[in-house]
């Protein structure tokens, strides 16, 4: 597998989904994830992180192109309709890329 098959999948979404999404990410075969707290605005309005209910998180998953596609598809079907959520992928070069594609 080539280096450029590695993607960084980034999700901006509601903090309330953290437990649920982490489960999904692990089940769909990603080797890990990184989460930071965030605030923001989008089509679901202002989410200013004043309190839990309107806090966002920012999840990053380094994974193979394939897993990234599956994850995106799954998230789109499960959450996109009812939750504030944005998903995008970036092409990256990662050290020891095999760690993320096994």
């Amino acid at each position: 597998m080539k280096d450029n098959d590695i993607r960084l999948l980034t999700i901006f979404t509601e903090a309330a989904l953290e437990t649920s999404l982490v489960k999904d990410i692990e089940q769909l075969g990603a080797s890990g994830y990184t989460i930071t707290n965030a605030r923001g605005k989008g089509s679901h309005g202002l989410r200013g992180a004043t309190w839990e209910a309107n806090s966002n998180i920012r999840i990053e998953v380094i994974c193979s192109l394939e897993v990234s596609k599956q994850l995106t598809e799954h998230l789109k079907n499960s959450y996109y309709e009812n939750y504030a959520m944005v998903i995008f992928t970036t092409q990256i070069e990662v050290l020891r890329s095999n760690k993320f594609t096994s």
């Binding site: 509601e14 309330a16 649920s20 309005g45 202002l46 200013g48 992180a49 004043t50 309190w51 839990e52 209910a53 806090s55 959450y79 309709e81 009812n82 939750y83």
Partner: protein
């Protein structure tokens, strides 16, 4: 002027600061901390009281209150669905908010009774815990129906183990197991600071309420009306139940306040996960933007007046 509790001024100050778009904020972890202290302390107060009296004596009251928790959402739901013309999910979610209780409102009611030297049954805190949960379950059933597919264990987990409920129950257990003399050593933090902590909590609630006012305009007069009329009706029910359970006037007013209050911590979190198609803005606008300020500014004194009034009518 001095008859208004300072904690209410904190709320109004927060509201004003929010309306003026000031940069004032309680740091988010401090807000979490302050909420947590409120929940733990209220739980502990209830627990200590439980340690003081035979549990069995309370059983009838507990039974009635829990039943009320299951019934209240059924009263609100049809109004929302057929008068308000909300979707089924939205109606169910809002009904769950109003069937459940607001811990912050309860704390203000307790502060009101204390500062007017009105007696009340200390085990009212127990009812906060009891009323928190049933409405959530009813809300989910109203939204989804009673299908076999419902993952009740997941829902139960979600509801019972959410932060709000856990801290209340934890406080209750700790207070109960430690007893009145046991909690003395930790009372400087949990009990002596309580009113100040409540002040900070209300400051932030004022700021949050201010952010809801925008959506209030958008969702129009129905939510405004609903957010004022529902607590009034529920308070009357609460007053009747309180008198029926032989509570003091103070205790009756607090029970009325609990019935009248709408959740904005435990229920929104549970609904977001279990009824995701419900729009959280609707329920929060009503419960935080209308009912919360109504209750703490006007409701509580009114419900106390009501309790006394009914007392007079019924018992003299």
């Amino acid at each position: 002027m001095n008859t208004i509790d300072p904690v209410i001024w904190f709320f109004l100050f927060g509201l004003l600061a929010g309306a003026l778009k000031s940069e004032l904020r309680l740091p988010s972890q401090i807000y979490d901390f302050v909420s947590m202290l409120l929940l733990l302390t209220i739980g502990m107060k209830g627990g200590v009281e439980l340690a003081n009296q035979p549990f069995t004596l309370l059983l009838p009251q507990i039974g009635v209150v829990v039943m009320a928790g299951f019934l209240l959402p059924f009263l609100a739901f049809p109004v929302l669905r057929y008068v308000g013309r909300f979707t089924r999910a939205d109606s169910a979610s809002i009904a769950a908010h109003y069937g459940s209780v607001s811990v912050g409102t309860f704390a203000v009611a307790v502060a009101y009774m204390n500062s007017h030297s009105i007696d009340f049954e200390e085990h009212m805190a127990l009812f906060v815990v009891l009323l928190e949960i049933p409405a959530i379950l009813v809300g989910i059933v109203l939204a989804k129906g009673l299908s076999k597919k419902m993952q009740w264990s997941k829902v139960g987990h979600e509801v019972m183990l959410g932060k709000g409920v856990m801290f209340l129950i934890g406080g209750l257990l700790i207070g109960w197991l430690s007893g009145p003399s046991g909690v003395e050593s930790i009372s400087p933090l949990f009990f002596d600071l309580f009113k100040g902590v409540l002040a900070l909590f209300l400051l932030e609630m004022g700021l949050i309420t201010a952010t809801q006012l925008g959506s209030l305009k958008r969702y129009g007069p129905f939510l405004l009306t609903f957010g004022i009329v529902t607590p009034l009706i529920f308070a009357v029910l609460g007053t009747l139940v309180g008198l029926g359970l032989d509570l003091s006037a103070g205790g009756t007013a607090i029970l009325a306040t609990l019935f009248a209050s709408a959740s904005y911590i435990a229920v929104p979190a549970a609904m977001r996960i279990s009824v995701p198609e419900a729009n959280p803005t609707l329920s929060l606008t009503a419960s935080l933007g209308v009912t919360f300020p109504f209750n703490i500014l006007i409701g509580i004194p009114l419900y106390y007046w009501l309790a006394n009034y009914f007392y007079l009518i019924l018992f003299s």
